[in-house]
Amino acid sequence: MKNEILRMENITKIYSNGITANKGVYFSICESEIHALVGENGAGKSTLMKILFGLEQPDDGEIYLNNSRISITSPSLAIKNGIGMVHQHFMLVPSLTVAENVVLGLEPRNKGFFDYKKAVAITEELAQKYNLFVDPNSIVEDLPVGMKQKIEILKALYRGAKILILDEPTAVLTPQETVELFNQLMHLKNSGHTIIFISHKLNEVKQISDRVTIMRNGRNVGVFNTSDVSENDISRLMVGRDVVFKLDKNIKKLGKTILNVKNLNYTSETGKKVLKNISFSVRGGEILGIAGVEGNGQRELVEIITGLRNYYEGEIVIDNIRINNLSIKEIRELGTSHIPEDRMVYGVAAQGTIEENIISDRFYKKELNHRILMNIKKVSDISKDLIKEYKIKCSSSKQKVSMLSGGNIQKVVVAREFSSNPKLLIADQPTRGIDIGATEFIHKKIIQLRDSGTAILLVSADLNEILEVSDSLIVMYGGEIVAYFDDTANVTEEELGMYMLGLKRQSHDEIGRVIYE
């Protein structure tokens, strides 16, 4: 056993809304180890790490660094103590450049002025040293997530972090990027850093970590050497039951074409050609997956189909109706549902109640209104039914969504989008950042929907998910479709990765098959 470097004892945290996120947690890590922290959504992982990083103050408990007690009342103290954190949600300032983001808070100065050149040099040097290549001069908001991830790590390293907390760093990465990240983590570990690694992907935990701490319901329910436990053991401890990893899927029963995208071209505001001549179609009872590294046009594609973006060229037909000039409401009324990529931005009104969030696509309909006033009893009944059906953990249907954990917020979105009997479902990263239990649940629901004849377009950066859930699959790279697979059963992750990174592409004919008519 290596030396213990940091220990948290008896940590209790109560948020001012009364939620107890950590209950007497004991957590300890050793020098130069990669220590995984796992647990269901809302188990209290992020909270524990925020306490360690000084973002939240514990209501009880102590923290020891190298056996001496410290108090971390602010992130700057954490940084001084050599603790760095890469957050689950990026903590970057979009309008600043990479270099500015890296040095923010600890800026190089020259006669009192901000020394931008030095900042660039520092960034380049760090990038070199840790193999984390970024362009110091680009503006952060234009960068893909993989790049943002690297910036976050660089930020921590620049501050001399010896202990690095990574809160779900791989949720947004491709397998190749994940592999790369893991290489970098090993590199860091070997150079004496300690890494706390939070993830819902147990295979990754198995792969990279030395030890694993499992949390459940705000408590630490066990610490193990990773090699001593199997994925099943971990998930059982996390969830309290066995989790099925293999999905049962019926053979697809294909219906008529629901979504048809023809020769779609799109140029972004900044003048970049984001989509180039995209054509494909999805039939009822089919799940078409779109794989691709983030930033290859998937987001724009989804936003165009759902009506969030306009001014494009080409034609989109949903259920035989051309939607180019339709409003979002009209598109939804054609039977389209949409699970958005970022639930906090589009998916919910966090300040609203669960009820309010559930009826947002149908609040105006006759069934929910008597003449002028809304039928609040009906609204409440519908919500209660859905809460039950989707097992949303909450105290009542009038609870604010912002008080739910990430997984439960996602369930609210899913419940709304699935319950409108869609003909077409666009599911964009439907399980990003949520735990295995909830992921399993959502996957099952998607397949249920497909079996009832819905056409489903599934966009995901999680290859496991894409391969498990979708029936057929296209790969996007650089705004183009570079591959089409009729049956996902014949594809391996590695092969997919090659297409996603643009190392390989299919012939025109092969891709052409994606248009059925």
Binding site: T12, I14, S16, G18, T20, K23, G24, D59, D60, T306, L308, S327, I328, K329, I331, R332, E333, H338, P340, V345, Y346, G347, V348, A349, A350, Q351, G352, E356, I359, S360, D361, F363, Y364, L368, N369, I372, L373, M374, I376
Partner: protein, 361 residues
Amino acid sequence: MNKDNIFEIFRTLMAIVISLILAFIIIFFISKQPYVALSKFLLGPLSKTRYFSNVLEMAIPLTFTGLAICIMFKANQFNLGAEGAFFMGAVTATIIGIKFSLPGLIHPILAIVCGGIIGGIFLFIPAFLKVKWNANELVSSLMLNYVMFYLGIYIVNYYLRDSNAGAMVSYKLKTTALLPNLIPKTRLHYGILIAILMIIITYFFLFRTKWGYAIRMVGFNSKFAIYSGINNKSVILYSQIIGGIIAGIGGATELLGMYSRFQWQNLPGYGWDGVIVAILSRNNPVLVPIAAFFLSYLRIGADLMARITDVPSEVVSVIQALVIMLVAAESFLAKWKHRVIAKKAIEEIKAEEVNMNEQYI
């Protein structure tokens, strides 16, 4: 009533107490009769029916502008044009009250309705500019206030001015247009009923209709609203139009209830007061009358103090400002609240642990 509400009430009371102590300290330093002054300030409004009626009278316009701003803020539209819409509502009511001859009940109703319409039309402007060209509504409405003011003054000055009067005022309104008093010997007029009605309508509109729902969703997260298929632009438009209508109705009501002719030479300031009321009531129409009453009580009490004792009226605004800031201080006592919650939760956790241990044994 849940624990949070109890705490809110307690916190508000504490804030009031502390600000009163501050007020007392100030009064103590400047007044030769501090105790009289303070008692006038605190209890004066309750000492006579007429004084209390003054409180209610003043709460009426505050309620209207408070509601107007409440609706606009709820949609996250930072429109400060209620001030001008209120003014124009009053000008409109003046026009109707002077130029039309109508029977009793219909006359004020027409005047108020028209006041509302004009208010709505004016606040449509910043809303339209925002929707059409994304022009910042805060700026355009702030500037529009002045435009409405000068326009109103122009109308009164050039078309309605009573040249026999010794000041820049309009002709007298026809008596059929005036809102009669509700309680004799006071100035409390039927406008209070309109205000109450408006509170109820606003509440139901915001919380029980689909339009209100759309407003709230746009206010919470406009991207979410757009994604859900809500027409963001129309919400931006109608929330501000409705705000303008309510403010306009308020102006008309105030004029017909409290005055016999138009005589404002400045913006009366109820728009800014409405912002205070809306924020104090946390944009909840049901709390608007309470906040309006509070502000109005504070002012009438302070007036009585200034009138009867030697405390100058300017000190009153200092005290008011302190009270308002403290009462709206969200984090005031938050630490204390957290400690109470945390202590209880920790005890619960300990108890849970004991239970678990027992189970193992």
